[in-house]
C-alpha cells in the first residue's frame, strides 16, 4: 500500500510501491476507453498544476487524469501568476495550501524544489519534473509501457541515448529499471554525459553501463529510449552541429536494426525530428511513443488516486 503523502522521486520508491502504482494504472486504463470517461472517485478534491516550465503533455496529462477522477483541476503557469511579480516559491505554495488544495503537481527548473515544498504543505506534492533531477511519473509510465509490451521489467537491455546531462527522465528511469534488475545502457556524446553518473545507483550498480558508441548501446537492446536534446538548457555549445549530432547519436532505421527484432522505440517527447530521431523511426512500426502518452493518463490517475483517495 502506498503510504506516503508525496511522490517526489523514483529513487526512494520501493519495488512493491512501484508495482502497486502500475497495477492500479492497469485498472484505471479502462476508464479512458469508456464513452463516459469519468468516475466520481476524487469528487471534491482540488489538484493544482503549478508549472514553472513549459509543458504540454505532462500538464495536460495530469489535468485529464484529475478530471477523469472528478477532481477539480486548476492550472497555474509562472508567466501568468504572481511569480512574475516576484513572489517566492514558498509563498506561492503556502498560498495554495491556505486555499485547501489537496494536491500540488509542481514542475520547476530547480532540482529539489518539490522536496522543499513537501515539508511545508499539508497538500500532497507530486513532482512533475525538477531540474535535471527526477520526473517520477514519466519513469512510471515508461515502465507501464515496457511491462505492457515485454511482459516484465527484469532482465531487459534498455538503451537510454541522448542528452543524459540535462535529462531528469533518464535519472528516474535509471533508478526504476535497475531496481527491477534490467541492464541500462547510457549512451551520449562525452559532453552530454555527466561525469560520475554511475554513482547515482545505490544498489545493483553493476546493471548500469556507460558507452559513447551508439552501435554498442543499441546492439541486442529490447528497448531503445531516445532523449531530447534540450537546447533551451544549453548556454554553451555541446556539439559542433545538429547534422554531426544526428550522424553519431541519431536513431535511424539502419541503427535500429542492431536491436532485438521485437525492439520498442520510446521517446518522452517532445521530439526533435532529425536531431535525435529520424522521422521514419518515430512513426515506424517499433515506435510506442503514443502508447507512452496514453499510459501517462492511466499512471497519473493511479498516482492521484493512491495519494488522495482514502
Amino acid at each position: 500500500m502506498l503510504k506516503r503523502k508525496d511522490l517526489l522521486g523514483v529513487q526512494d520508491l520501493g519495488r512493491e510501491e512501484i508495482l502497486e502504482i502500475l497495477d492500479t494504472a492497469e485498472s484505471f486504463h479502462e476508464v479512458s476507453t469508456r464513452n463516459i470517461k469519468k468516475v466520481p472517485t476524487l469528487r471534491g478534491k482540488t489538484v493544482i498544476n503549478l508549472f514553472f516550465e513549459a509543458s504540454t503533455r505532462t500538464r495536460t496529462s495530469f489535468e485529464i487524469a484529475g478530471k477523469r477522477l472528478s477532481a477539480d483541476v486548476v492550472n497555474i503557469s509562472s508567466s501568468t501568476s504572481s511569480v512574475s511579480k516576484g513572489e517566492t516559491l514558498i509563498d506561492t505554495a503556502k498560498t495554495l495550501d491556505a486555499m485547501a488544495a489537496d494536491c500540488v503537481v509542481i514542475r520547476h527548473f530547480a532540482s529539489g524544489a518539490p522536496h522543499t515544498l513537501a515539508k511545508l504543505t499539508k497538500a500532497s506534492i507530486v513532482n512533475g519534473g525538477d531540474g535535471a533531477h527526477e520526473h517520477p511519473t514519466q519513469a512510471l509510465l515508461d515502465a507501464y509501457t515496457i511491462r505492457h509490451r515485454k511482459g516484465r521489467l527484469n532482465d531487459l537491455k534498455i538503451a537510454i541515448i541522448g542528452d543524459v546531462a540535462h535529462s531528469r527522465v533518464a535519472r528516474s528511469n535509471i533508478h526504476l529499471l535497475t531496481k527491477f534488475g534490467s541492464h541500462v545502457w547510457l549512451c551520449a556524446a562525452p559532453t552530454l554525459m555527466p561525469p560520475g553518473i554511475e554513482k547515482i545507483v545505490c544498489e545493483n550498480g553493476e546493471l548500469l553501463h556507460i558507452s559513447h558508441s551508439m552501435d554498442e548501446a543499441v546492439e541486442g537492446a529490447d528497448v531503445v529510449m531516445m532523449l531530447r536534446v534540450q537546447f533551451e538548457r544549453m548556454s554553451e555549445s555541446f556539439f559542433p552541429s545538429v547534422r554531426e549530432y544526428f550522424r553519431y547519436y541519431g536513431l535511424t532505421t539502419v541503427r535500429a536494426e542492431r536491436a532485438m527484432p521485437d525492439v520498442i522505440i520510446m521517446h518522452p517527447g517532445p521530439m526533435n525530428r532529425g536531431v535525435e530521431i529520424a522521422t521514419e523511426v518515430a512513426d515506424g512500426p517499433y515506435s510506442v511513443i503514443l502508447d507512452q502518452v496514453s499510459a501517462g493518463v492511466a499512471v497519473r490517475m493511479a498516482v492521484l488516486y493512491l495519494l488522495l483517495g482514502g
Binding site: M1, S27, E30, V31, V39, P40, T41
Partner: protein
C-alpha cells in the same frame, strides 16, 4: 453451507434468472471479487440449459464508494469489464453477500456510466439483512438473520480454494 449447498444454490439462482426473464438473453455482471466467479459459474449453468451462453462482465465499485475518505487505506482497484453494447439490455448484478446495500448503490452508479439498461436486477448468494438503503434483491440464494457483530464469509474455490459459507463472530 458446504460445497454441495453452494452449488445447488447457484443452480437455483441461474434457473430463477432464466425463468424470470422469459428466455430473453441477460448480461451477468459480477461485482469484484466474489461476484465474478459466481457470475461465471451461473453463466455456464445457463448455457447448459439454453444452449446459449449469456454475456458476462465484471465491475469494480471502489471508484464509486461513498466512504473513500473514511476507509483507512485505499482499497485495491480491480478490473472493470462491461460488454460494450449494454444499452437496452437486461442486466443482472451478481454479488456474494447483501448487507447494508451500499455496495449495490455504488454498483448502480457505476453501471449507469456505461449506458441505459432496460432493467437492472440483483442476484445475491446471501441476504443477511441490516439494510441502510432502500435496496432489495430480485434473486436470493439464502436469507439469514445475523447480528451486527457477525461476519458472513462466502468462500469460492476460484479465490479461496474451497466452496463454503461461514457465519462468524467478529473478533
Amino acid at each position: 453451507m458446504n460445497a454441495d449447498e453452494v452449488n445447488t444454490t447457484l443452480d437455483r439462482l441461474a434457473h430463477e434468472i432464466l425463468k424470470k426473464n422469459n428466455g430473453r438473453p441477460v448480461v451477468l455482471i459480477g461485482i469484484q471479487r466474489r461476484g465474478v466467479p459466481m457470475a461465471r459459474r451461473m453463466a455456464i449453468r445457463m448455457a447448459e440449459k439454453t444452449q446459449r451462453e449469456p454475456q458476462i462482465g465484471t465491475l469494480d465499485i471502489n471508484l464509486y464508494r461513498d466512504d473513500l475518505t473514511r476507509v483507512a487505506s485505499h482499497p485495491v482497484v480491480q478490473k472493470t469489464e462491461v460488454p460494450p453494447d449494454i444499452d437496452d439490455r437486461d442486466v443482472v448484478l451478481v454479488d456474494d453477500v447483501l448487507y447494508t446495500g451500499r455496495t449495490i448503490r455504488a454498483a448502480l452508479d457505476a453501471l449507469c456510466d456505461f449506458g441505459r439498461m432496460r432493467t437492472i436486477q440483483l442476484a445475491v448468494m446471501i441476504d443477511r439483512g441490516h439494510r441502510e438503503l432502500p435496496i432489495e434483491p430480485n434473486f436470493v440464494g439464502k436469507k439469514i438473520s445475523t447480528k451486527d457483530n457477525e461476519v458472513v464469509e462466502v468462500k469460492l474455490r476460484e479465490i479461496d480454494a474451497e466452496d463454503a459459507i461461514y457465519v462468524m463472530e467478529k473478533i
